[in-house]
Symmetry: C2
Subunit: 284 residues, 2 copies
């Protein structure tokens, strides 16, 4: 396929290379100029208007505001038969609106946020949560399958919703692991031995093994940032509120991330819930 990748950041660059290696005709565009060393081997578009001519416009941007801004420029240039695929973690409510507006022009829409980071993008092993009309997801599959394992979870916005729910599970489980780590430490049990003992059982998870180790080492180096996790949990809260759902641990975990951001810890890893817990004990 002829693919334009809008957003050549930490994720967009390895995605461009992986798609190119899979035989797709890839070009890239970035809102701000990038060091040519970073984009070596990726053909660049001269403008967003040029990107808008591709069969598939793939967006890999920082947040919903960036997607909204890029789409405002892109939409008038798009023609019937083209396809927009938003692979960032955006607001599902915006995705529903974008999909409807593009449909009026005969342009397809897929939201396909990912899990697996730059390593997964480079290896073509991302987990891809796809939302969109069945026909649109089917058309995007040759590109998506080059990047990883695709699951269509529903119509437009469902992919972004699933990603928000992914972040809900991650954030709340990190609080569980922070409390477990704090209790192990206070009880004189080496958290590393505890992780080894629990490996493979019902309490085990990647989060316990990877982020539990970061907590025990006080190595809150991202990884994924506190500020990003707060943004995602606020999206989850907005989704829940729109459906009249009260989710108590979601609300409390979002408040805890907000406290970390307010204390100047927004750039730490999201495992810093453990730091907050330690600071609370010290001052409580």
């Amino acid at each position: 396929m002829e693919i334009a990748i809008v957003g050549l950041g930490l994720m967009g660059r390895p995605m461009a290379r992986t798609l190119g290696a899979a035989g797709h005709q890839v070009r890239g565009w970035n809102r701000s100029p990038l060091d040519p060393a970073l984009t070596a081997g990726i053909p660049l578009c001269a403008s967003l208007a040029e990107a808008a001519t591709a069969e598939l416009c793939l967006l890999m941007l920082a947040d919903s505001a960036a997607v909204d801004s890029v789409l405002a420029t892109l939409m008038p240039a798009l023609r019937a038969g083209q396809l927009v695929v938003d692979m960032g973690s955006s607001n599902p409510a915006h995705s529903v609106i974008h999909a409807a507006r593009l449909a009026e022009q005969g342009v397809g829409w897929v939201d396909a946020p990912v899990s697996g980071g730059p390593e997964g993008a480079a290896a073509g092993s991302l987990a891809i949560l796809a939302g969109g009309a069945e026909a649109d997801v089917a058309r995007a599959l040759p590109a998506l399958q080059a990047l990883g394992r695709v699951t269509r979870v529903g119509g437009p916005g469902a992919g972004h919703t699933a990603k928000v729910i992914n972040q809900l599970i991650v954030g709340l489980t990190l609080q569980a692991i922070a409390e477990a780590t704090a209790l192990a430490e206070a009880s004189g049990i080496d958290p590393a031995l505890l992780r080894q003992a629990l490996a493979g059982g019902f309490a085990d998870s990647k989060l316990l093994q990877i982020h539990g180790a970061r907590m025990a080492a006080r190595a809150y180096v991202p990884g994924a940032r506190v500020a990003t996790q707060l943004k995602d949990l606020r999206l989850a809260q907005a989704l829940a509120a729109a459906r009249g759902l009260h989710l108590p641990h979601l609300d409390d975990t979002a408040a805890r991330y907000a406290r970390l951001v307010a204390a100047g810890h927004g750039d730490l890893d999201h495992s810093a819930l453990h730091l907050l817990l330690r600071e609370e004990q010290a001052t409580g």
Copy 2:
């Protein structure tokens, strides 16, 4: 080794058979009489006093109260050089006291609670969290290694503490999965597709795949009981309180399990946090 297993319940019986198959000389004793069909192939002791003559007395009882009661009878009969191994999920504070009293008689102590259920006991694939003096754990190893994978996490009581922390992680993660499942359902996303999409990623766990499926199916059939999970979380709260730790999600999850018990749901599976969440939305 010559092993007496005190407690021939759902766990004790397969443990007796697995130890026997591994070449140990096993006898069993149960507080209440059991249907002979259940204990077929397991030589029985005529009395607890007879069990007290074994080189290794292995306790597999329902709770700390049962352990305290059995030990009150057992202790006067024990002699220097014997070993008591408590493999149930008991109160770590009691274990420290039992270990000290037995040490005065020259009797060794290991707390070695397990994860993996009757299937793990039958297969010899339990995860075993061992606490005790290094020499005592070393002496118990021939028996313990026949039953599963052993990790020594610290001195007397550390095994029971680690099991309590295991239960903390399980309970709090189940609340995370309950909230995620409720949000998926309210958003029109099939939880089964969501679990499939998240498999292998950071949000994934055995709890998501197994208990998430129970929640979506409203099949709150134990598994592990709500009342047991509440007992274990209260042990975790007692541990935290003794160390001056405030663990907010532990306290809230324990309160949620207590609400389920008060509503008559104590015998449901611990995934019934999802039922509570649904009932709260209906009445909220």
